[in-house]
């Protein structure tokens, strides 16, 4: 099996919608990350932040949705991100992905994507990469 994607192709943008305090609370419960700085404004302000802000892993989970919306999860080989800026509460991020390499292999094409999450003001909150083996059996 091969992919029809080529270098420079972009995945359709994934708009996430507003990150509310409820979003942060649900993600704390779902992910198991109960770090108070994302949940309790008093703790956040005590640490010198303006307010609570999103868990970095929430942004990475949003990027994973961009991937699994277009590829079977079993094709995902590696996935990495750098947390470049915080995502303030009430932000409305968008996830972007672009093909940067396609390597043809007998056991499936290896696809490399550049990924990022951006806020409407252009701030990049997460920047990363994923490699996928298209047509792999496992």
């Amino acid at each position: 099996m091969t992919t029809t994607l080529k270098v420079g192709d972009a995945l359709p943008d994934l708009k996430i919608g507003r990150i509310t305090r409820t979003t942060l609370a649900l993600f704390a419960g779902g992910s198991g990350d109960h770090n108070e700085i994302h949940l309790d404004s008093d703790v956040a302000r005590g640490a010198g932040m303006e307010d609570v802000f999103a868990q970095g892993m929430l942004g990475m989970a949003h990027l994973s949705r961009l991937l699994t919306d277009h590829f079977p999860q079993s094709s995902l080989r590696s996935f990495s991100t750098r947390f470049a800026a915080i995502t303030p509460v009430s932000a409305e991020p968008t996830c972007f992905g672009e093909v940067v390499a396609v390597d043809h292999h007998p056991d499936g094409d290896l696809l490399t994507l550049d990924l990022r999450v951006e806020l409407p003001d252009g701030t990049v909150t997460l920047a990363g990469k994923a490699t996928l083996q298209i047509g792999s059996a496992s």
Partner: protein
């Protein structure tokens, strides 16, 4: 404060979690995941999966399933509010599913600082296994902001 490089090589005791469907469904709700594959067992099975798939980044939380998941940081004398997540990577061997019993073991692999010690960095690697077989390897950089 300076974190002692002597902690490099230290590991946390293994933590084991049975992945529950309900947790995966809550995770899906929190991230706005509406693909039935991740919330509806019948849809997952129709797509050839034995149960709800564990989504790609859920594995990060496995290591947090201990009574005080941040003890390893606090024991270094670091205040949790000064801690930020710097980077995260996953290398996948195979998929995991609801009902799986997964085990995580984390090891500190590097400690370094930047900006004259204003920022300290802790690198950790976490191996996740099922019945001793590899599921994924996670690499994490934690940043400590010293004021």
């Amino acid at each position: 404060m300076a974190i002692s490089p002597s902690i490099v090589g230290t590991s946390t005791p293994p933590v084991t979690m049975t992945v529950e469907r309900g947790r995966l469904q809550l995770f899906a709700k929190a991230i706005g995941q509406s693909d039935p594959l991740y919330v509806d067992v019948a849809a997952a099975r129709a797509a050839g999966h034995p149960d709800l798939p564990v989504p790609p980044t859920f594995l990060f939380g496995l290591e947090l399933e201990r009574p005080n998941p941040f003890a390893w940081i606090e024991e270094l004398g670091v205040d949790m509010p000064s801690v930020l997540h710097g980077s995260q990577s996953f290398d996948y061997t195979t998929m995991a599913y609801a009902g799986d019993v997964l085990t995580a073991v984390s090891t500190i692999t590097d400690v370094y600082d930047k900006k004259g010690g204003a920022l300290e960095f802790l690198d950790r690697v976490t191996h996740i296994t099922r019945d001793g077989d590899p599921i994924a390897t996670l690499t994490q950089t934690t940043v400590v902001r010293n004021s």
